[in-house]
């Protein structure tokens, strides 16, 4: 049984934030969930997908976040409790659905989880998704800890049903990827079949209907505001003269700082957990006792703007600080020491933190950047593309996935990326705007997510570029989740379809389609050269399973290799491939057999044929 299905009420478990959120959803009676994987949200979905195989829960990996949100929206409008789970930038993809779903509303509780990533530990931006609450008019909840996240998910479903609107549940990496002790509640029986009651004048959003629905949404917003005013998740601690308004993970930094600075008597804390609509009356009454206020929130000055507006309405002229050069930044994540330092300065308190060691006499420590794995098929494909395009002036749009790491030397095969699917569509623009050869890269999951529409555009508008689709049989970057091209039989799963990328590419009208096996280097280079010569849209599908995935499925079968005496130290293996299984020992190239996966790409690259199989 999955550990999150434990029926031991009141049992204490150490859970990852994402596991606590999954458990909270189960305790709330989640019936239908959908997701597109994305760090830092992925473990919620991984847990719920596993659990769906041994419970009444239906959970799917959708092709993208918009699809996931729409699947969940329909379920919620049949009266079921549903959830759509995504990383922050995923909500951009789903935003079209989100905005009008807010007009339509829901019947059963629906929670949309957005996992924000301040500091961009694994994201392309650090946008603050609280503004989606303002933009859509939907309520937002933000937990401050792992155990609170579990309880708050249940509250989110109740709130959604009360308001008949989906609720945005906003986390940040430090909630998703923190662990804490959680007390289990009951998992109720799940209502798995709902019913859809036809009511086109509430559901079919033609202008005449939507004009009424917008009125309804504003009415719901007013109700949400009165609930926010009294929500147990908007809480006040202390009664000192300096007000501190904080949210999410920052609340913990504030609490610890107040304790470290021993300034409990000097401060009054307003922790906002229900952040849209902001509790106006509560904030106004909070401000009354304060002679100044500090707003502590990562990201944008979302609460700060609201607090300042409320103060203005009250005719208050007290100092309210948040984002400013001498207080907090809009950049990156905060830390306990930073919050303590700013708070100490704001209160004119002296505090000597433990001294950070002087590292000036420490020699430079070699960097350890992430790298494509030993035996990664992307490395082989990049090498092939590089050889086949030798001498050409190229522009290389890439996409979101492990292969974005192709930007690093020695490959240096990435020139432009903004979001999922943009490799294909920016290729259209680059090829029209320049006379250079445009070569782009997209992974299999990303192709299904948002590459297909771009490819159709390219065919229709007769663009001129070569797109590599890197089909490694899984969604590798986020931890090997399924995608529509995956062979679910390998995961012992039945009842799934499977879409062949080659069929899709041919069906949308691409005339020049080449399928390569990237571990056959020479043959692939010749095939790719031909694709590059084609005027128009050409597609190269590079098919080879992700090495880590193959290893986990026990499908890795290649022999391991060693560098023999024939090595004349050309170092093409190191300088052109950069496989991390290689190392230099007293100036001589060697292969770490523990890392070698037997892809044999180096064998084909070595000019002396010096790399030989290990006799085992």
């Amino acid at each position: 049984m999955h550990k999150l299905l434990s029926d031991q009420r009141d049992k204490k478990m150490l859970l990852l934030g994402n596991e606590a959120i999954a458990r909270g959803a189960l305790e709330a009676g989640l019936a239908i969930g959908a997701t597109y994987p994305g760090t830092p949200s992925s473990e919620i979905s991984a847990a719920l997908f596993d659990i769906s195989h041994e419970s009444d829960l239906y959970f799917e990996y959708s092709t993208n976040e918009k699809v996931a949100l729409e699947v969940a929206a329909a379920a919620a409008n049949c009266g079921l409790r549903s959830m759509a789970i995504m990383k922050h930038v995923g909500l951009n993809v789903a935003a079209d659905a989100l905005m009008t779903l807010a007009y339509v509303g829901v019947k059963g509780g629906m929670v949309i989880l957005s996992a924000d990533d301040p500091f961009m530990f694994s994201s392309q931006n650090e946008q603050d998704n609280r503004y989606y609450g303002k933009l859509s008019g939907l309520p937002i909840l933000e937990p401050s800890s792992v155990d609170e996240a579990k309880e708050m998910i249940k509250y989110a479903f109740e709130l959604s049903e009360k308001l008949q609107e989906p609720v945005l549940f906003r986390t940040t990496t430090r909630i998703n990827h923190s662990s804490g002790i959680v007390t289990l509640g009951d998992i109720p029986p799940v209502k798995t079949t709902g019913d859809f009651v036809k009511d086109p004048f509430s559901y079919v959003t033609v202008p005449a209907v939507s004009r009424n629905l917008h009125v309804k949404l504003l009415k719901h917003w007013d109700e949400a505001k009165s609930i926010s005013e009294n929500s147990p998740y908007n809480l006040i601690e202390g009664d000192g003269p300096c007000g501190i308004v904080c949210n999410g993970i920052s609340y913990n930094y504030v609490s610890d700082a107040v304790k470290d600075l021993k300034c409990e008597k000097k401060v009054k804390i307003l922790r906002i957990g229900f952040s849209n609509p902001m509790p106006e009356a509560l904030v106004k009454s909070f401000l009354k006792g304060c002679d100044k206020v500090l707003v502590v929130e990562e990201g944008e000055p979302y609460m700060e703007e609201a607090v300042k507006a409320f103060a203005q309405e009250e005719g208050s002229t007290i100092t309210i600080k948040g984002k400013s050069p001498s207080h907090f930044s809009r950049l990156y994540e905060y830390s306990p020491a930073l919050v303590r330092k700013v708070l100490a300065e704001y209160l004119n308190l002296t505090y000597e933190p433990p001294a950070i060691p002087d590292m000036s006499d420490v020699p430079e420590i070699p960097q350890r950047p992430p790298n494509l794995c030993a035996g990664c098929s992307h490395r082989a494909t990049f090498y092939i593309a590089k050889q086949a395009s030798a001498g050409m002036e190229t522009i290389i749009p890439t996409d979101i996935g492990c292969y974005t790491l192709g930007l690093l030397p020695p490959m240096s095969m990435a020139d432009f990326v903004i979001c999922m699917g943009s490799s294909v569509t920016t290729s259209c623009g680059f090829s029209k705007a320049t006379n250079k050869k445009v070569i782009s890269f997209i992974g299999d999951s990303t192709f299904f997510h948002s590459g297909i529409t771009g490819l159709i555009n390219a065919v229709f508008n007769n663009h001129n570029f070569t797109l590599f689709i890197l089909d490694n049989g899984t969604t590798a970057m986020t931890g090997h989740q399924p995608n529509p091209g995956v062979d679910m039989g390998l995961l012992n799963q039945t009842g799934f379809g499977r879409i062949a990328i080659e069929d899709v590419v041919r069906a949308v009208g691409v005339k020049e389609v080449t399928v390569i096996e990237p571990f056959k280097v020479k043959k692939s280079i010749e095939a790719v050269k031909k694709a590059f010569e084609f005027e128009g849209v050409s597609v190269v599908i590079s098919k080879e399973m992700c090495t880590l995935y193959a290893k986990s499925l026990k499908l890795l079968k290649g022999k391991r290799y060693r560098v023999s005496d024939k090595c004349k130290n050309h170092r093409d293996c190191i300088n052109q491939l950069g496989c991390p299984a290689f190392f230099l020992n007293e100036g001589k190239v060697q292969i770490n057999p523990a890392q070698c996966t037997g892809c044999a790409v180096c064998v084909q690259v070595c000019p002396e044929n010096a790399i030989l199989p290990i006799k085992e």
Partner: protein, 199 residues
């Protein structure tokens, strides 16, 4: 309750997430409040994995520079890199077997000298316990039990309010059955090695 802050730093694949999870479960069994945070993501792609564990009453699951009471490094150059987390009162435990980054393999960096590395750490902290954890792991029967060796050494320092027996109990329940015996042995060898260093 006093707060104790521990940083565990490793290279992806060295098993520090299992080590921190065992330690966290042991704290739970000992009824000690514990919060942890870790940065996942690119770990499997050869990057650094850092977990922070906060025992006691503090609410933050994150440890700022200069504020770790104990630093456990699974790889010597990563221990040195993470030294910014320490202060002059910190205890540092490090494995001595290098796992040179690829940048060194291709000649784009120089791996620090191990003796110099140890004296630098000694000079900047209260105590260094340096052990060849890979050798001890092999002795325990499983080269991959470096994480358990280091856990043993960490518990021996007495810096954490968690007993060795409790940690071993968690190892028995939470680690793969086939490895329990070698994991326990690795834990004990790490404990003894730290004891010798402490004399």
């Amino acid at each position: 309750m006093n707060t104790t802050r521990v940083i565990l730093v490793a290279v992806g694949g060295q098993g520090n997430l299992l080590a921190s999870s065992v330690l966290g479960e042991a704290a739970l069994l000992s009824q000690i409040p514990v919060r942890m945070s870790e940065i996942h993501g690119m770990a499997q792609r050869g990057g650094v994995v850092e977990s922070a564990m906060v025992f006691g009453d503090a609410k933050s699951p994150v440890i700022s520079d200069g504020e770790a009471d104990v630093l456990v490094g699974f790889e010597p150059s990563e221990t040195l890199r993470a030294l910014r987390k320490c202060n002059d009162g910190s205890v540092v435990i490090t494995n001595l077997e290098p796992l040179p980054p690829f940048t060194v393999a291709i000649g784009k960096g120089v791996y620090p000298d191990l003796n110099e590395l140890q004296s630098l750490i000694r000079a900047k902290t209260a105590k260094l316990i340096a052990i060849d954890a890979v050798k001890l792991a092999r002795e325990a029967g499983n080269e991959l039990s470096v994480n358990m060796v280091l856990l043993g050494a960490l518990i021996q320092t007495g810096k954490l309010p968690v007993q060795a027996e409790t940690v071993k109990e968690v190892i028995r329940i939470k680690t793969k059955q086939a490895f329990v015996e070698s994991n326990i042995k690795a834990f004990d060898l790490g404990f003894l090695a730290a004891q010798r260093e402490n004399k």
